[in-house]
Subunit: 146 residues, 2 copies
DNA sequence: CGCAACTAGGTTGTACACAACTAATTTGAG
DNA sequence: CTCAAATTAGTTGTGTACAACCTAGTTGCG
């Protein structure tokens, strides 16, 4: 286990993640979305009317990242933010008409990304499983340090 | 190829990359390094006295990221920046005494990260190869769009 | 030689991440 | 019932990423 840059999985992950994000940048440009904003939209297309807290739990993002991001999505016109009447601490995020419509445009993205990754369905599934295992393992280890 | 968040490799990559970075944050704290700064140090421990341009090529980072990062490394006292006399456009980055010494402390990090990932040597090698293939494929695809 | 094209690094502006903190509200133990 | 603790968002400050632009320096064609 050396200090060689080209041997470390961490650098591989870092590079892969940036490469994929930069592909998404090109694909999402015309939809006026950044990649993290796209992730929020994915979550909302799956289930609309979510609390900020719920989105944070699903994406593993805290309010420091989500609050300004959601404001930008609101400014773009894709979501609406409403204080929850029965608990004034909470804010509910719901899709606007434009945000809902955007889903049709977004449908063409996953196949392009799959193609770009050069993996078939099985390869994608395996890669996803490997990454999830790695994430869980690393998170468990980190939490065990505290 | 759906829009389901939990099926997308991109989200797996994004999550894994952030999980690993956050483990590094804990491990690097006592060395006064951030994770991208650590990557630069890895590159310099392998070969010292490099031009900013060379570091950028190895890490795939442009001057917009590297310039301020290298200034911070200089402020911390790990590197020195010197204009190249024979080409005043270039800046050479060299390790200081403290930066060189830091390598011994850093040696303990890769085994910890390997352990945290829950992979044996073979698993790490395979994951790294898979990630490199994916990065190359995605980058090639993106460049083909231009 | 002279100057246009290129190159290396830096700066500016936008958008994440995330730690640390704050403000407003809700909850629950005593 | 009350108030301290917990909860939910939001804010602030630091450090990446990266596009777009800038500046100084170098090179090479005519």
């Amino acid at each position: 286990m050396s200090l060689r840059l080209d041997e470390q999985v961490c650098f591989g992950l870092y590079s892969a993640s940036r490469a994929v994000t930069s592909l998404y940048r090109v694909l999402l440009e015309q939809m006026d979305l950044t990649y993290p904003q796209y992730l929020v939209m994915l979550a909302l297309w799956e289930r609309d009317n979510r609390l900020v807290k719920e989105l944070g739990a699903e994406l593993n993002l805290d309010s420091g990242t989500l609050s300004p991001l959601l404001k930008r999505l609101e400014a773009t016109g894709y979501v609406q933010r409403t204080r929850q009447p029965d608990d004034e601490r909470s804010v509910r995020i719901s899709l606007t008409e434009a945000g809902t419509r955007l889903r049709d445009q977004a449908k063409r993205i996953p196949p392009v990304v799959g193609e770009a990754m050069g993996l078939d369905d099985e390869g994608l599934t395996r890669m996803r499983a490997d990454l999830d295992r790695l994430t869980d393992s690393v998170n468990a280890y980190r939490e065990s340090l505290a």
